[in-house]
Symmetry: C2
């Protein structure tokens, strides 16, 4: 095979401070990204282990397509046993990390065990291998203060994956930030507490210098070139591509509001009276009016032609956020009763700096508001609460550990979580296919596991939602295993041959047109097996009880897909 000698597994032990390069086991070769993570977890991590203990592993795995600056296909998958859900976890992100790991031939970076003594470490990866360096001088700093110091020391072109104070405090809402192509540390592998896991490994940052590496070999250059051309053409032809370039993911706000699924005031309503002020159109207008410190069409990875990211500077010029995403607008905007993009941007910035998941923190603050810690619509108080997280006050530590714990501590029943992970900004009571995804995904509540909002189906009915979620989950798991952004699917979906053509040309394989779904199905099978070993059962494949009882305005529907149907999603 073309890559036999190119790829290796890089294994690091944080206790012994040792590093070794190992050949890629045969059964890992045809897996990448999310599917490879699941395979490694099953092969190496005891499913019942303490997630923040020495037996868990933090794993970085590039997707199968990573390394060629194919548009939107250089994402990095980061995983381990989740301290938030207790199950399998993959969180992926754009930025530089995936590409530079691929240049070094890293099929998977596996980080074992924990340092025996306190103190913070940094891993420096280059063609020469891995160096362990002390990182105490950047410990306690947010990602925006940390990154420039690391660029200064290691060069402006390195990739950096790092945690903020949230991960240092092992908070379950902590993700791992990755710098984007312009050096901004805001591409977060957000979900499931991977930042806490990195913190538990004593790791503040991983610096990857791919400059001494090389692009992964291509088995059939000519075929690859043609496939890339076809892919780019499809991508540019797809109407959503231009929409996302103009409006970013904020294109979703008005659609979600129209469908009555926009989380509003802790999931108590599905439409927000100020939705328009959180819309992509409104944000684009503001960006264009505010001028050069804003950018409505920004790429997070080199080579991306969708450029769905954006850069927003608040009207006072004090805060710049990249990107302001729909999920953040929904969870920290309407869900908190906030209808001002600058208010949301200020919260977003601090949450990014702490290295926390905006979805989890948005849900958490919604629960906190329900508990009386803040009023809905009070952005100053929301900012105070987030600052408590930074300070690590007892209240801040509660909030930093997510919506589930916050609900338990403050005795709130209306907590929007599945497998203890916050739902994303689509209320499942009026978007039932996505509700099936939230309930049954081995990853816990997560729209990226299988969003169904674009399907032509009545989202209020129960019929057909399980089948819809199933195929959506398989496809998304497939994309996550390729290293492809969900939006790469705009191009790939137009022709079923694009993916096998790219992979066959790249690796010299002979895959058929079902590969995306096949890969996704195998991925989910592996993930469910890990979760089964970890103690998950059908009882975990459920939405919170209150969502089955409390009707959601304006449609006044509850989540009523029967349990038996949920249990058939993957024939549990």
């Amino acid at each position: 095979m073309a890559n036999d000698n190119f790829y290796a597994v890089w294994r690091v032990n944080m206790r012994s401070q040792t590093f070794q390069r190992e050949p890629v086991p045969e059964k890992w070769e045809r897996l990448g990204g999310r599917a490879l993570l699941a395979r490694i977890l099953l092969d190496e991590v005891p499913a019942t282990c303490e997630p923040l203990g020495p037996k868990n592993k933090l794993i970085f795995a590039s997707g199968l397509m990573v390394g060629h600056m194919l548009s939107s296909c250089d994402r990095i998958s980061i995983g381990g046993k989740s301290p938030l859900t207790g199950g399998v976890k993959e969180a992926n992100a754009g930025g530089r990390t995936g590409l530079q790991l691929a240049l070094l031939g890293v099929k998977a970076l596996i980080i074992d065990d924990q340092p025996s003594d306190p103190g913070w470490w940094l891993l420096h990866l280059s063609a020469g291998g891995v160096r362990f360096e002390k990182a105490d001088q950047v410990a306690g700093k947010g990602v925006f203060d940390t990154t420039p110091l690391l660029f200064e020391r290691y060069g402006e072109d390195v990739a950096i994956a790092l945690i903020g104070q949230g991960g240092e405090m092992r908070m379950l809402a902590a993700g791992i930030q990755n710098v984007d192509k312009d050096g901004i540390p805001s591409r977060i592998a957000a979900r499931g507490g991977m930042g806490a896991l990195m913190g538990a490994k004593g790791l503040k940052a991983i610096v990857i210098d791919g400059s001494g590496g090389q692009k992964p070999p291509i088995a059939d250059e000519q075929a690859f070139k043609q496939a890339r051309k076809d892919y780019n053409k499809s991508l540019l032809e797809h109407p959503q591509t231009l929409k996302y370039r103009d409006y970013g993911t904020a294109a979703m706000t008005m659609m979600a509001n129209a469908y009555g699924v926009l989380p509003t005031r802790n999931f108590s309503e599905g439409q927000f009276e100020h939705a328009e002020k959180l819309s992509g159109e409104h944000i684009r207008e503001a960006m264009l009016a505010r001028g050069k410190s804003c950018d409505p069409s920004h790429a997070c990875m080199a080579g991306c032609i969708i450029q769905s990211s954006n850069i927003l500077t608040t009207a006072d010029g004090n805060t710049t956020v990249s990107a302001i995403e729909y999920e953040t607008l929904g969870m920290m905007g309407s869900n908190l009763g906030l209808g001002d993009i600058d208010d949301v941007a200020r919260l977003n910035y601090v949450v990014n700096d702490l290295g926390l998941d905006t979805i989890e923190i948005g849900a958490t603050l919604g629960v906190a508001a329900e508990a009386g810690l803040m009023a809905f619509g009070d952005s100053a108080r929301a900012l105070e609460l987030i600052e408590e997280i930074r300070l690590g006050t007892p209240q801040g530590k509660v909030l930093g550990n997510g919506a589930g714990i916050t609900g338990k501590v403050f005795g709130v029943e209306r907590v929007p979580v599945a497998k203890n992970q916050a739902l994303s900004a689509y209320d499942p009571r009026a978007l039932k296919g996505t509700g099936v995804t939230y309930a049954t995904s081995p990853q816990g509540g997560d729209h990226t596991a299988g969003l169904t909002i674009r399907a032509e189906i009545d989202h209020l009915q129960t019929d057909g939602q399980v089948a819809l979620s199933r195929i959506s989950q398989f496809k998304m798991a497939g994309y996550d295993s390729l290293g492809a952004c969900a939006f790469a699917g705009f191009g790939m979906s137009l022709s079923p041959d694009i993916i096998p053509k790219l992979l066959n040309a790249r690796y010299g394989w002979d895959l058929g047109s079902d590969i995306l779904v096949d890969l996704g199905r195998e991925n989910i099978r592996l993930e469910r097996e890990f979760n089964r070993q970890a103690g998950f059962t059908a009882a975990d494949d459920r939405l919170p009880e209150w969502m089955t009882r409390e009707p959601l305005p304006p449609h006044n529907t509850v989540f009523d897909v029967p349990d038996e149907e949920l249990d058939n999603t993957f024939e549990w």
Copy 2:
């Protein structure tokens, strides 16, 4: 059968404020206490329901022997789906509740649903049925302030089951206090958050006036009289009876310390340098010296001839606690580095007043000390932290929800819980049979589910511990189904015929000498079935990972009973 017309199920609905008396279903007739609770939960409560939501039920069930003032046999079992463990729960207590419910012919009191509006309620049970009364005037008060007001209103002889502020705030460490024969509200059904469940039902107190009732009928008066005589004789002959009368459960301190299993400074050691000052001998001496405000031999239930309870007044005369138990001395004494009984008594009093479980709170403060919130040995700070629970500060709410949540919030790994419930005051690394009980009991970590310390076995070895725990768990489940105190077993164990003789005489049954174990086995089978439906698997039948890794001084053993053996405890 003798009791066909005597017993009924009393069913209360908190939403509709309705009450009805129902005949006892046939399959419930031969069950009582803990076993009956498990049966009712399986029959009526969806195992996956939200524990603090409307579908859970709070159930009071008297044991099969309750109602006759048989020594130590009038305990009340209180249960529901546990908000702490997420599984089946029975917590039992002495005091008046069991007896007075039996006098009214209540086989089980089942409390359904929740009030639709906020506000606190009180149930008044008498021969006339159930009255719903407003309880807002006692809401927010501790149990010591509440009880006198209720006695004043309902008479001095009523039984009262009530919650403190902990249950009102739905804290997971909250139990349900029951007044003892002298009217002191300190017989707590402590474990598993039953107080939170009562709070979620909007119930501050249940007052039971059995004065218009009658003793349950006895099928064969003569045989019953003889069996009671035999039982009392055995009880008085057993050497432990006198020991417990003199020293109470504090008789255990020096034994636990000698075995190296006395939890010390958050389970980091198994022997405490001040153990002697927490011993039964020392406490008895202090009580005798302090005179009439103390009582080393006090009965919690009418008719008890063991009288293992005690009353301690601190040297300054300001605080009186009844009873000061070994579990409290271990968990809030040595486990917090405190070696002064008056310090422990002061903490104990406040925790009692709040209606919280001293085991769970002791474990929680140990974790809090590990997290740096207090220093081990600082009783004043410990008291401050407990006062924060009363005030419901964010930090107090964390602590009030138990050791598991506290560990998660503050990022502590050394958290002594099983199924999220705090272990009792026996470190399982040097008492491995009890470790098997903690791990595998459907109730979660709990010594009363099957303590093995008196067995003649090397407690440090792994062999034989599973078999030992199994039989111990069956027996304890049997006693819990009879309404018998663990210490009743002193008498019952001397002759295997005592129990069937008592039951056969009472009910006109024809039970054999295996009834205790048979009842216990069936009980555990029912409980495991409920837990299975709730989503529990073998992965839940484990001790925390750190206990398998971190040796416990002075024996420096870890918990190493193999997982496969644990899974054989009941052939899961």
